[in-house]
């Protein structure tokens, strides 16, 4: 089998390769390796970034080399400014055809998932969403492991397609890349340019506004999240959780039952259909632990539970538990923290 060209859509975050794209690159890298027995060799892995050269930091090329890419392809076209999902998909599709790519990979972000789905629709090919691992089998198919139920279940699957289209779950474990690209340390990948041929219809959906929401901590990136569920009992019960979150430099997150009761706004919801969090501490109060909720907090470093029910499902997913009424435990904890801070 000849070496396999693989494309990976890369998104940037403050001029650096976004964390989700780093994981996508790791999976894309494993697809670029030829599995032929006796002659394993690494094929080309092209990182695809939409934008023009002048707007990119030079460090991006070095960053990409570190994450296993062998080339950076900058895609731009007249009229293509900002995010336009069909135009991006058209660009990837045409680049994949030009390179006879074996696979096109993207992070399973809102942009990555959407663009790859458009690629699938444009080409008629299947798309495997939320993969955590992928490998070429050597007979033209791919063996995949992908998430279902936002990661509460894993599916082993076989993908059969002339070009594999897949997205990589944001919480997939990043592979060890040190063995793959040892010689490239400190050097940037070469940069090439590509101009897709776009039609008017490819540009009819484009992001027209993008405003940062005002200040404060975000649930997705907070270091401490104080979670409240059905056990909080009503909207007024969240004052104590807010106070505790304030003392620990964190924010309040809630379960789905809390938002569907209208106790708190949906933007505070942690879970499969809310926000995925990855704090140092998730202190889950009065939350039973439905899998849809746990899918949103499984990346927390520590989970501590306050719950009256010692048999709640969340007990089997947490590090520590206090068995008791949160309306008693949380005010006592707040008092203890205030006392400690006062002494400090």
């Amino acid at each position: 089998m000849s070496s396999r060209a693989v494309l990976c859509l890369v998104e940037l975050d403050n001029g650096e390769v976004a964390a989700a794209s780093q994981r996508a690159l790791a999976v894309a890298r494993s697809l670029a390796v030829d599995p032929s027995p006796g002659s394993p060799s690494a094929g080309a892995l092209t990182a695809v970034v939409f934008g023009v050269a002048g707007q990119l930091a030079e460090s991006v090329a070095v960053d990409l080399a570190r994450h296993g890419a062998t080339e950076l392809c900058l895609v731009s076209a007249e009229g293509l400014t900002g995010y336009a999902p069909v135009a991006w998909a058209r660009g990837l599709e045409q680049l994949a055809a030009q390179r006879t790519a074996a696979a096109v990979v993207a992070a399973a972000t809102d942009h990555g998932s959407e663009v790859l789905a458009h690629c699938g629709a444009l080409t008629g090919l299947p798309v495997a969403a939320n993969c955590v691992a992928a490998a070429a089998t050597g007979d033209g198919t791919w063996q995949l492991v992908r998430q279902r139920w936002a990661g509460s279940l894993l599916e082993e699957a076989v993908l059969e397609a002339p070009c594999a289209l897949l997205t990589v779950a944001a919480d997939a474990a990043a592979g060890d890349l040190t063995a793959l690209a040892p010689a490239t340390a400190g050097h940037g990948v070469p940069v090439v340019k590509f101009t897709p041929s776009l039609q008017e219809a490819d540009l009819r959906v484009r992001a027209t506004e993008s405003a940062e929401q005002g200040g404060g901590l975000s649930l997705a990136t907070a270091r401490v999240v104080i979670g409240g569920g059905r056990g909080v009992g009503g909207p007024e019960g969240f004052a104590a959780l807010e106070e505790l979150a304030g003392l620990l430099g964190g924010v309040v997150g809630v379960s789905r039952v809390v938002t569907s009761q209208g106790w708190r706004p949906h933007r505070q919801q942690v879970g499969q259909t809310g926000t995925k969090i990855s704090p140092e501490l998730y202190l889950a109060c009065g939350i039973s632990g439905a899998i849809q909720h746990m899918a949103g907090c499984q990346s927390a470093r520590h989970i501590v539970v306050v719950n009256t029910d010692p048999d709640a499902p969340i007990m089997s997913r947490a590090d520590y538990a206090v068995i008791g009424d949160l309306n008693e435990v949380i005010p006592a904890l707040v008092a203890a923290i205030r006392e400690t801070a006062g002494q400090g």
């Binding site: 789905a117 629709a121 010692p310």
Partner: protein, 265 residues
């Protein structure tokens, strides 16, 4: 305006996923079924649009005969008509599902359903693509991840959250929209709604199953999800031990003294 909302029957899963002995399905003998949360919000949004400006809401699902239950649940929320693309119970991939939906819509003529809505992704398979594939098959623009929607004449404005900010889109109808939970708070079904849903006629079509290039081999529950929490104590008496644990995690440095970045006290 006539709105079509595509929904999916999925297992109602709670604290634990149990698989069938052959590892092919979620065991639903003790749990039952529901509609994916994003899609319930899509139905609510469609009902609100027709309450404001007239028209009808049609809910469509592809699934086994029992999926008519989920259509009736949505009819009870205020949808007017149901279409069941009936299957023999096999799992359909996104390519075949989208082709069947597009064919059913296409048969009703190009002017049918200026607005087609779907959930952003199904709760179980999470494929993120059926709505987009339907849009391409019908030659319509598609926006996804939508948490706010306005329809004014032939123009649809939609917004979604992205990277701490918002992305806005403006497209001409007819269009396809993928909706996310949080766009609204779905109502509870009323008693008259339930009675109407019970009597409502559901159109049944039977598309032919097609293989997808992505084939499921087996499902499994991820390893390492069966630890047991260490109990620190009971009630307020556990607070000293809880303080010790939080201290070990390095979380009890007094706020404002250490000046950690981004901390809002």
């Amino acid at each position: 305006m006539d709105v079509l909302v595509c929904v999916k029957r999925v297992p109602m899963v709670g604290g634990k996923v149990v698989l069938t002995a052959d590892g092919q399905e979620v065991d639903t003998r003790m749990s039952g079924f529901t509609v994916s949360p994003h899609e319930e919000c899509a139905v609510e949004e469609a009902v609100q649009i027709t309450e404001r400006s007239g028209g009808t809401v049609t809910v469509l699902t592809l699934g086994p005969p029992e999926a008519a239950e989920q259509l009736r649940d949505m009819l009870a929320l205020g949808a007017h008509r149901g279409i069941l693309l009936e299957t023999d119970g096999r799992e359909w991939g996104p390519v075949a599902t989208a082709a069947a939906i597009a064919a059913a819509v296409g048969e009703l003529g190009p002017g049918a359903f200026p607005l087609i809505m779907a959930g952003n992704e199904a709760a179980d398979t999470g494929g993120y693509q059926v709505g987009i594939r339907v849009a391409h098959a019908l030659g319509r623009p598609c926006v996804t991840g939508i948490k706010r929607l306005e329809v004014a004449g032939d123009v649809l404005r939609a917004w979604r959250e992205y990277g701490g900010g918002q992305e806005g889109f403006e497209v001409a109808l007819p269009a396809v929209v993928g909706v996310k939970e949080g766009i609204n708070l779905p109502r509870y079904p009323s008693l008259p709604g339930r009675l109407r849903a019970k009597r409502a006629e559901i159109t049944v079509l039977r598309p032919a199953w097609q293989a997808d290039g992505l084939r499921k081999v087996a499902l499994r529950v991820p390893a390492g999800s069966a630890q047991r929490a260490r109990v620190l104590g009971h009630g307020a008496e556990a607070v000293p031990e809880l303080m010790r644990v939080l201290g070990e995690m390095g979380l009890l440095a007094p706020v404002g003294v250490t000046g950690r970045d981004g901390v809002v006290a």
